[in-house]
Amino acid sequence: MTTFTVGDALPPFTRDSGFAYWNRYAAVNDEFIPIHMEDDAGRAAGYPTAFGMGNLTWAYLHVALHQWFGEDARVAAVGAQFRSAVTRGKRVVISGQVTGVRPAPGDDACDEVDLALRAEDQDGTLLAPGTATVVVRR
């Protein structure tokens, strides 16, 4: 049992990137799109290499939430905007900060915790800002 307070910063969650990651995701999501598989296609779209799926960064936000709050936490809402591409070799670093805590409606044992999320690369370039609301047991 843990309580959270506005301003709490959660430890960074990291993932490397590249075809080993993207091909696995393509294989489960049937997402075989050239910009994720071929550097030439990535360059044609205006990027230096092929780049990872936004859906995979989206998945990482959820993995991070459960690493921070545990598998019993109920993820009620997540939002993210993909601002920069995860080109080959970038490391995705996801951080979170608590922005709100309130009793969960209809459940005296739980709180709803609001979060500001930030996915950036290893150089601090913003990849995806986001938000989330998670229901956690006190």
């Binding site: 489960v28 049937d30 998945a59 019993d72 993820v75 009620a76 809402a77 997540v78 993909f82």
Partner: protein, 173 residues
């Protein structure tokens, strides 16, 4: 088309809110969930909640559940059934389905999502998705004028529960 719009036509605006795709999943298999979890947790071993039935049975969920971001419609759906696939991608798919002319742009990127979740998806669930265009807007980017399309999709399970409602934004240019 309103003043200043390059790609958005009156015809496109007329189909906002009209369902353009209804999809029904096959019953979700435990192996679908297991493989999904392996892919999104790579290179880590995913939590047992996603692949160990005995472990999952002893959790608050009472059994295996899917990661929230799981897609039960990948590869094949019960409705519509499997059909031959085109080699390329039709980025006007939404407008084509709605019977209107799309902008014919060459690049389509995922710009983000806003999602609200209900009950977790479990093995055996059959999910029905209904999608409609929520909005069209344009903005200037480094690649010129870009068309932003928000598609709202609602996923309902076989019990009538909404497991997910998502507003997904794509950028075409």
């Amino acid at each position: 088309m309103t003043d200043g719009d390059v790609y958005i036509t009156a015809e496109m605006r007329s189909v906002i809110g009209v369902p353009f795709r209804e999809t029904v999943s096959y019953p979700v298999a435990a192996s679908d969930i297991r493989r999904w979890a392996i892919a999104v947790y790579y290179p880590e071993v995913p939590p047992r909640l996603y692949w160990d039935a005995a472990y999952a049975a002893a959790t608050a969920y009472g059994g295996i559940v899917a990661p929230e971001d799981f897609n039960p419609f990948a590869w094949a759906t019960a409705e519509p059934e499997l059909a031959p696939r085109a080699e390329g991608f039709d980025w006007d798919y939404t407008e084509t389905r709605l019977g209107v002319k799309g902008p014919g742009l060459k690049t389509n990127l995922n710009a983000g999502s806003q999602t609200r979740y209900g009950p977790r998806i479990r093995p055996g669930d059959v999910i029905r998705s209904t999608s409609r265009v929520h909005s069209y807007t344009e903005k200037q980017g480094r690649m010129g004028t870009m068309l932003l399309t928000v598609v709202r999709s609602t996923w309902v399970n076989q019990h009538g529960e909404t497991v997910k409602e998502t507003d997904q934004t794509s950028i075409r240019y």
